[in-house]
Symmetry: C2
Subunit: 233 residues, 2 copies
């Protein structure tokens, strides 16, 4: 094959890889915005914002499908090897986690919408802390993704513990609240599920970090991070 | 290339595909058993069985990692096209859903373990119904997987609605219970999260069906199944 032609094939493959990467980063940015807005809707009891988050969720589903199609095309047209191949497989995994993150953001937004109609339930300090930690972890995971940095990925992967503690604190507080005031049971269970969704978003941020690590290094991180959800599930 | 050698390559590729398929089916069987046992532990308040389910979860994580490695190897060594390629990509997606199903089974088992120490909370009829529906959907999804049957996959995909209704009924019942008897708040919230986990298992069974459909037909099912979780999340 003439060098020129070979160069062209390599270039077009690199372009396709860059395009895939761009799609994953765009999806990550959208997922992050969804989490941010869902949390804001919950904390400020903003029904309109909650509805916007719910309405935007199908865009993430579409993005995931497009990434899947791009991956299948890329694998069918070219045979990427070693680090490129791991990157392509990681893209597929990350897209799925981002889609789940979006799903949980939608859940938080739905709870926020339901809560806006109910009387306020105690302090939201714990929530604010949980949301900050989850968003921070998500930022770290996506930062590692953007940089393709294995060490950053490892750090993001290890950072989830603060989330578990804060989550457990919120559940305990909400339970106490419910026992003291049965009228708070409705809103408090909504909040409990919203907290669980945030905790799950933290888990998926961890998965993203793990996939970035896998793509950069080619080995998975140890599977069991020490878990500290002491509420039972 | 001599025909003999070509035959050998095709045969060894087919063997690798069969091996991957076998791994996915084995993982599916394990996930299904985990769900079954977790539900039984919950319904019969069996703490030992709950602990067994929790203890077996790392096996599913390991199986997922092995499937990932097999997929990456298969893609690196061979360049599967069209239906084979979709099958390989679907294997990756299905393994991830099965891992999540296992995670939720572990959550149910943990709740079951915590509940065994608490006084019983109302009737478990709704739960039995929910568990039956979820297990039925899982069986359908895995049946479609085993048969590689697009029509069966489509049926399994459409069958999730019964789960949503039953789940909503349980949540309403538990909320009523909590308001009538604040002592039930602790166990009832555990049950609520267990119900949510079962509902999620139903969602992942739907995803498996979707991936089977994608592998068999090459097109995704419409993304939004009509959703009927009216509890907010």
């Amino acid at each position: 094959m003439p060098t020129e032609q070979k160069d062209h094939i390599v270039r077009s493959f690199d372009e396709k890889l860059r395009d895939l990467r761009g799609r994953v980063l765009a999806m990550a940015a959208t997922a992050e915005a969804q989490v941010s807005d869902a949390v804001r809707a919950l904390l400020t009891r903003d029904r309109m914002l909650a509805a916007q988050v719910t309405g935007r969720d199908p865009a993430l589903d579409r993005m995931e499908r497009e990434i899947e199609e791009a991956v299948v095309l890329l694998l069918a047209l070219r045979q990427p090897v070693a680090i490129d191949l791991r990157g392509v497989v990681a893209a597929l995994k990350i897209a799925k986690d981002l889609e789940r993150i979006g799903d949980h953001a939608k859940s938080v937004a739905r709870r926020a919408g339901a809560l806006a109609a109910l009387p306020p339930t105690g302090s939201m300090n714990g929530f604010e802390r949980l949301a900050e930690r989850v968003k921070e972890n998500l930022r770290r995971g996506l930062g590692a993704l953007e940089a393709g940095d294995a060490r950053a990925a490892r750090d993001a992967w290890a950072a989830d513990e603060g989330v578990d503690e804060t989550y457990n604190g919120i559940v305990r507080e909400l339970l106490t609240h419910m026992m003291e005031d049965p009228r708070s049971i409705g809103p408090a269970t909504q909040l409990m599920f919203a907290a669980k969704s945030l905790e799950r978003i933290g888990d998926h941020a961890t998965n993203v970090a793990e996939a970035v690590h896998f793509a950069a290094i080619g080995s998975a991180l140890p599977n069991e991070r020490p878990q500290a959800d002491t509420t039972g599930g």
